[in-house]
């Protein structure tokens, strides 16, 4: 007897197997076609460029599943076992088919190694599957919501690999080859059988069972959550590429739909629920869940872009199903603070806030379901260039007694301090601006503001999906910058900073080179850090305080600035910096972003109260932040949560002015 792979041992009706296999492949391909045609419906304006960062992502987060390990080691191991067990056995089947049809190479030592590897992979798969079953049905991991397919897929996979081992075991029981030890797992099963005859009778039955289960899995694959293994690599690869910018001009002639990458996101979601765990809105029991939203969007696209819609009979029914009952419920979308926490934890890089913004765009255009306070704020923004105040004059009043050079009134300076709407107008946030001005003056920095003429960067409009208004505000701002020759900007708000740094460039790219205006933008924490490094500011006054730092979403997760503000805080003598339960990339949103500052929603819980309690739990007496929204939201929460005796909320500038001894002359 040759040491080699044995094909179709004791199986006579091989043709039947090939007929069934052919059928399976057809069903599988139909499934692929179904997904591909939905994706392609979104490809119109999206691009698919080559990127090295994308390839690195693929290796790291695709093949190694790095993100799955984050905060959940068992989930990571479970996934690695199942994924590599599955891929390995699949490759094994492909090699075996090659051996049978093309080149016979599975013999001798190669066969023995092959055989041994398959044993290991099969066992890995079994271990992974048991881990999954335990997590879902015994340990009952809270973020996992079990649907019927979750159970079915695990059982089918388990049945497939177990019958595989059984088939092998029965054959070994009859053949008893000397090299059986390489198939050690199968051998365990063979020992279960008492006689050769029993084994020979049982074999064809078991073989067909194994074949049918395995073929069934392949056919079911594209229609189940298993499809994530084909979809996820695409969005893991696309993650580092910026999403395409579609201008209002272009949208005049085009119906708005989700772009390519969003469609892939929807197919790639595995329902793991990590987004729900970190979503500040879901955690505060608001009627919003990123996972639910993605599932709804998936339902919607499956109906709207179903390839069957090419046939009138289906089209009429499927489209009708959408119009009768909107798959994506429109009320929920206003709860998202766009804090980006979901993207931070998603193993396959789905950020629910991106497709949510696209639904917002549609809702803003439809108009009748927009929260009324938001309507008011947007109309104020349209008329007065700020979302707060029905007056343009009040914008210039924040300096009070301070002397602040006005670039629109002839002051000369390289650096433009862009104060921003909220910091200019809100009485609490104005403290930030005055403190920052004092520090800059102390450091001898030559700067100026745009005074009363300052515009809105447009962030609020963009976040809530009013892109037309965003573009108007952006053009006004760029015109103002051009008029006063501004090439260097520092902002109070991480939101303006992000709009200038991350939203504007995409629109600039749509313009001709002559029309483009380039300027450098920094957040004030970056400038402070530079001033500190250059020795222009030296915190000398010792502050005997225990402080904690709240990472603003648009500074941290959006722009990866975590360490700078902490360095500044630590440079203050006598001060102790402690961290909250959530910090850095895991920071918890104050609840003011994404337009939430200008909405009054039903069932609104105070996201900021959740956060302020975390700060109080550290035992710190000061909570420092670096964003006017955070400052306002958290200061309010301080009062409503009744923590005023225990804690103070301060902007980093305010803390620093105290340490520089600049705060005293204020009163």
């Amino acid at each position: 007897m040759e040491i080699a792979r044995i094909h179709f041992w004791e199986i006579n009706t091989v043709w039947l197997f090939y007929v069934l296999a052919g059928l399976t492949v057809v069903i599988f391909l139909i499934g692929l076609f179904f997904h591909a045609s939905i994706w392609l419906a979104g490809l119109k304006r999206d691009k698919f460029n080559f990127s090295t960062a994308g390839v690195i992502n693929l290796l790291k987060d695709g093949l190694l599943g790095k993100r799955i390990f984050k905060g959940d080691l068992t989930a990571g191991l479970m996934h690695i076992f199942i994924m590599w067990g599955f891929i390995g056995l699949f490759v094994g089947t492909v090699l075996s088919t090659t051996d049978y049809w093309l080149i016979h190479f599975l013999s001798g030592d190669i066969y023995l190694i092959f055989s041994f590897c398959l044993e290991i992979l099969g066992l890995m798969l079994i271990v992974g599957l048991f881990m999954a079953l335990i997590r879902r049905y015994i340990a009952k991991v809270s973020r996992l919501n079990n649907t019927s397919q979750d159970l079915w897929i695990l059982i089918l996979l388990l049945a497939s690999v177990l019958t595989g081992f059984l088939v092998e075991g029965i054959r070994l029981a009859v053949q008893r080859p000397e090299w059986g030890g390489y198939s050690f797992a199968g051998l365990i099963f063979s020992s279960l059988l008492s006689s050769k005859d029993q084994a020979t009778t049982l074999y064809p039955f078991m073989w067909w069972l194994h074949a049918l289960i395995s073929l069934g899995l392949v056919a079911y694959f594209p229609f189940s959550k298993l499809f994530h293994s084909l979809a996820a690599p695409f969005n893991i690869y696309l993650a580092p590429q910026p999403a395409p910018v579609i201008s209002t001009e272009d949208r005049l002639s085009e119906e708005l739909e989700f772009p390519f990458r969003d469609m892939i996101d929807f197919s790639a979601c595995t329902n793991c629920g990590r987004c729900n765990e970190v979503c500040p809105s879901t955690s505060a029991m608001e009627p919003f869940s990123p996972r639910e939203f993605i599932a709804q969007a998936n339902e919607y696209t499956k109906l709207k872009f179903n390839p069957l819609n090419r046939i009138k009979w289906f089209r009429e029914r499927l489209i009708k199903a959408i119009s009768e009952e909107p798959k994506i419920s429109p009320e929920q979308i206003w709860y998202c603070t766009t804090c980006r926490a979901c993207l931070e934890v998603c193993p396959v890089y789905i950020g629910a806030f991106e497709p949510i913004r696209r639904v917002r765009i549609a809702e803003i255009e439809e108009g009748s379901r927009v929260p009324s306070l938001l309507i008011q704020s947007l109309e104020t923004l349209y008329k007065y260039n700020n979302p707060w105040e029905s007056s343009k004059k009040k914008r210039g009043e924040w300096p009070g007694v301070l002397d602040v050079p006005d670039l629109t009134k002839g002051a000369q300076a390289n650096l433009c301090y862009f104060v921003g709407c909220t910091t200019s107008i809100d009485t609490r946030a104005q403290d930030l601006a005055r403190a920052f001005v004092k520090i800059m003056t102390h450091a001898g920095i030559n700067f100026g503001t745009l005074g009363q003429k300052e515009t809105c960067c447009g962030d609020i409009a963009r976040r809530v999906g009013e892109d037309g208004l965003f573009e108007e505000q952006m053009e006004k701002t760029l015109d103002l910058f051009a008029k006063h020759g501004i090439i260097e900007v520092v902002t109070s708000s991480p939101h303006c900073f992000n709009a200038f740094g991350n939203d504007y460039p995409g629109y600039q790219d749509l313009k001709t080179p002559e029309e483009r205006l380039t300027f450098r933008v920094r957040h004030y924490t970056q400038l402070l850090e530079e001033l500190m490094d250059r020795g222009l500011i030296k915190p000398v006054k010792s502050l005997d305080l225990k402080v904690t730092y709240h990472d603003p979403c648009y500074l941290g997760r959006y722009n990866h600035i975590y360490e700078g503000p902490r360095r500044i805080i630590r440079s203050i003598p006598g001060l102790e910096l402690v961290e909250m339960a959530h910090f850095g990339p895991d920071s918890l949103c104050c609840g003011g972003g994404g337009g939430r500052m200008w909405e009054e929603l039903e069932d609104e819980q105070k996201l900021s109260e959740v956060r302020i309690r975390e700060a109080a739990d550290t035992g710190a007496s000061v909570m420092v932040t670096a964003c006017p929204y955070c400052l306002i939201m958290l200061e309010d929460a301080l009062k409503t949560a009744d923590l005023e005796d225990r804690l103070r909320v301060m902007d980093l500038n305010e803390l620093l002015t105290e340490a520089l001894g600049l705060g005293d002359d204020e009163e």
Partner: protein, 260 residues
């Protein structure tokens, strides 16, 4: 159901610092921000809601200059089918009587079941155009409508009376209704919506083409003088930071015996 909505472009004066113009008979509107009269915003929304329910057309009309077209574009974006502007470079020379004459003349040639105007306009607060139009056109009318339903070709309306009372009437069409704020929740009008509505019909009619006599175009109300409220005794403006203002205020309230 064919509905005509009369709308006006008005300056936002709620929080503005007002000055008297050089002529002394009006406020200076140079630096003011304009937008649709709030009551008219509810009127157009109500018309579009009825159209969405019963079909038909909505036509928006205004008397004014090219800048005032913004109001019509907004109405078109909200769902009006077409718009008409009667060219008039300075409407402040007209009073409610003249405006109602002009609008009635234009409306007479149009097909309609209902005409909506706002109860009044934010700039002059006269609240007369609607009623005068109904008289001029000799059709039924009802004022201060806070609820409206259509029943067998008739309008069931609720008018707001003093003291929170409501008056329900069944009115034969065609009719003119002046719409009160709060009857609905006007939708948001996006920039994209306005730009998309640019394709819709917006017709301009020259005033002389309407053949209205000079007699009818001469205002019945003449403003002789406009002035800011005179400064009187007894007012004190508190200054300082919020802490100081609030403690000063408490001090005053205590002194006057309002607070213990």
């Amino acid at each position: 159901m064919d509905i005509i909505v009369c709308a006006k472009n008005v300056p936002d004066v709620a929080e503005a610092d007002l000055n008297i113009s050089d002529k002394g008979t009006d406020i200076d509107k140079e630096d003011l921000v304009f937008g649709i009269n709030d009551w008219d915003n509810y009127a157009i929304e109500e018309a579009v809601l009825l159209k969405e329910k019963y079909g038909g057309t909505v036509t928006a009309i205004t008397v004014g200059n090219e800048d005032d077209e913004e109001v019509l574009r907004r109405c078109l974006a909200m769902g009006a089918d077409r718009a008409i502007r009667i060219e008039a470079d300075d409407i402040s020379r007209f009073d409610s009587f003249v405006i109602s004459k002009i609008l009635s003349r234009v409306v007479k040639d149009l097909q309609f079941d209902l005409i909506f105007t706002g109860v009044l306009a934010e700039d002059d607060y006269y609240g007369m155009v609607g009623m005068m139009m109904a008289e001029e056109l000799n059709i039924n009318h009802a004022n201060m409508i806070t609820a409206l339903e259509i029943e067998d070709g008739k309008a069931r309306t609720t008018s707001e009376l003093e003291g929170g009372l409501g008056e329900v009437s069944l009115i034969e069409l065609p009719a003119l209704l002046t719409i009160q704020t709060g009857i609905n929740e006007p939708r948001y009008v996006s920039i994209l919506g306005i730009r998309k509505a640019a394709k819709k019909e917006l017709k301009t009619i020259e005033l002389p083409d309407l053949g209205i006599s000079d007699e009818e175009l001469s205002p019945r109300t003449i403003i002789e003088e406009a002035f800011l409220p005179p400064e009187t005794e007894g007012a004190e403006i508190l200054a300082g930071d919020p802490d100081k203002i609030s403690s000063d205020l408490i001090e005053i309230l205590k002194k006057k015996g309002v607070m213990e």
